[in-house]
């Protein structure tokens, strides 16, 4: 029995590896094959052109430009909201919290990071509803700002955790150097810990950007629509790549629209993979540096 099990494990592990990588490549390459020049001007700007759409605000009807802009705008706003609070929480966890407080907070953050995105979307939606009841005239309604606000809650735990690990993995002697020179805790954080942990924190933030770009459930409850064009201000509805893919998959009327959805998928994968590669690169450079110092 024992003799039989052991070689089987090796074969099985190779089999699993090949199977998963095969499925992964199969899925992604299928999307690439079905798309048609996703990075071309026609795919993004349709019959309009780069100059007309970007500089003269000519509306684009048959390209991915509005969805692409919506996604980029959304991602930037969400991360701008989430970064101060996320890194703040991470710093609090690594430098201030002790004992029971640390345990409870870490648990709460785990709960938040396991929360389904649709529940967060529902929260954003309830926020709109309640706000509307209290201030019927001045409520923000379904808009890019509410989506960004909800998404920032979604990525808050990611940023908090990556900040916490970044600070915790710093060298102990480095962490104490500022304090030994007479700096107080905050000064130590500002001048020693944050600059040294910056690359790792940044790579966590880049992954949070990718998480914001891909999420669909939150934005479909809080403000993404099919034909909004580019939002003029943050209180307007918007288009986004993932929502476009979802919407098209159920409502497409022509082969052309379907090809656009495939193009959108390739663009979205491209955005997420690029963010992943940069984040990975920064992280490995940072950890390589650390090894050399040691």
């Amino acid at each position: 029995m024992r003799k039989l099990k052991a070689p089987f494990l090796k074969i099985f592990s190779y089999f699993s590896f090949i199977l998963y990588v095969g499925v992964f490549i199969f899925f992604t390459s299928y999307l690439f094959i079905r798309s048609e020049a996703p990075f071309s001007s026609v795919s993004i700007f349709g019959e309009s052109s780069f100059v007309k759409a970007v500089f003269y605000n000519e509306p684009v009807f048959d390209g991915l430009y509005p969805a692409l802009c919506g996604t980029l705008l959304l991602v930037v706003i969400s991360v701008l909201i989430a970064v101060p609070f996320g890194t703040g929480t991470g710093l609090w966890l690594s430098e201030f919290a002790k004992g029971k407080k640390l345990k409870i907070m870490a648990l709460l953050i785990d709960v938040l990071s396991g929360m389904p995105s649709i529940v967060i979307g529902l929260f954003g939606f309830s926020f709109i509803l309640i706000f509307h009841k209290i201030f019927p005239d001045k409520s923000p309604g379904f808009s890019i700002i509410v989506s960004a606000f909800s998404l920032s809650i979604l990525v808050l735990p990611y940023i908090a955790k990556s900040t916490q690990t970044a600070i915790n993995s710093l060298d102990k002697s480095l962490k104490l150097s500022g304090l030994s020179l007479g700096a107080d805790k905050i000064e130590n954080i500002r001048y020693i810990l944050l600059p040294n942990a910056f690359p790792s924190i940044l790579s966590g933030i880049l992954l949070a950007l990718a998480r914001c770009a891909e999420d669909t459930a939150v934005i479909m409850l809080t403000g993404a629509v099919a034909n909004a064009g580019i939002p003029g201000n943050i209180f307007e509805r918007f288009e986004a790549l993932p929502f476009f893919i979802y919407y098209t998959s159920s409502e497409y009327t022509s082969q052309n629209e379907l090809t656009m959805a495939f193009n959108a998928s390739v663009l979205l994968i491209f955005i997420c993979i690029i963010l992943f590669i940069i984040s990975f690169g920064i992280n490995s450079i940072a950890s390589g540096k650390k090894k050399r110092i040691k």
């Binding site: 990588v21 101060p84 890194t87 929480t89 396991g114 389904p116 649709i118 929260f123 309830s126 809650i153």
Partner: protein, 281 residues
């Protein structure tokens, strides 16, 4: 200078406080908004029939739909993920091991909606052929794609816990004449047991909480299915579909009840995983 220090201090403490407040607020708001639904419908919300036009708002089919798509997904993903993790941590070739880790990190950054979209063209037609007569939009299709989605989460965890088995014990196993595979089977697996459980729980949490795959592939009919090739509606898909209803209807209120159930389920899974695998998540 002082101002910035002060600002930093305020950010740190308000960040932590805000985080805690938000987590509780999400729950309280849903309880508040679903209260009329619970008090009006009472125990009837767990009935098996969802038919707003005749006034029955049972969400049992959705609860069942969630479980019946998520659990098989974990069952499919578990052996493959464990095998992959063993490959990346132990048995694989030196260079492939590193590649395997990078691939899995890249795979976890692929958008969910993209998996679901590809599934419509790759999985659904095949399922339509083998599942006699159905449309192909079924529990089976959704579970299959969910398994692909949750594998990276599980692999990460398994890999991490296999890696964290102490070096000295591992060398002890070799000293006793164990081969690499024997060491994994009889030493690493038992030692990494808690991590493996924790990863499985988190994978289940992701599968339960995913919206796009079940919404786009499971067919969304609000009744209890008879076979794996029939359509089902999950709690998450239900929330996404009913949002269009009138805001004061019980139909709409039921959405918040689904939200609470999802919140409690995933919170339970996260807390259990956290308890099993302290501080490592």
């Amino acid at each position: 200078m002082r101002f910035y220090n002060h600002l930093l201090k305020v950010t740190i403490f308000s960040g932590a406080a805000l985080c805690a407040v938000v987590i509780l607020l999400v729950f309280l708001i849903m309880v508040f908004l679903s209260f009329p639904f619970f008090s009006h419908e009472g125990i009837k919300i767990f009935s098996q029939s969802w038919n707003p036009s005749s006034g029955s708002y049972g969400i049992a089919p959705m609860i069942f739909g969630t479980i019946i798509t998520a659990v098989p997904a974990v069952l499919i993903a578990f052996p493959i993920s464990l095998g992959y993790a063993v490959f990346a941590a132990e048995t694989g070739n030196k260079y492939l091991k590193k590649t395997a880790v990078i691939i899995i990190r890249a795979a976890s950054s692929i958008p969910t909606v993209v998996y679901a979209f590809a599934g419509i063209f790759l999985i659904v037609p095949i399922v339509r052929k083998i599942g006699a007569g159905g449309s192909g939009y079924s529990i089976f299709s959704a579970s299959l794609v969910l398994a692909i989605l949750i594998s990276p989460t599980m692999i990460f965890f398994f890999y991490d816990s296999l890696k964290s088995v102490g070096k000295p014990i591992q060398q002890g196993a070799f000293a006793l004449g164990a081969t690499k595979s024997e060491k994994v089977l009889f030493l690493s697996f038992p030692a990494a047991k808690k991590g493996i459980f924790a990863g499985t729980f988190l994978g289940l949490g992701r599968a339960l909480g995913d919206t796009m795959i079940s919404l786009m592939l499971a067919g969304n009919s609000p009744s209890i299915p008879d076979s794996a090739f029939e359509s089902a509606r999950t709690l998450t898909a239900h929330i996404a579909l009913v949002m269009a209803a009138d805001y004061d209807s019980p139909e709409f209120r039921s959405v918040f009840a689904c939200g609470i159930i999802l919140y409690l389920l995933t919170a339970f899974l996260s807390i259990t995983a956290n308890y099993l695998y302290k501080g490592k998540i």
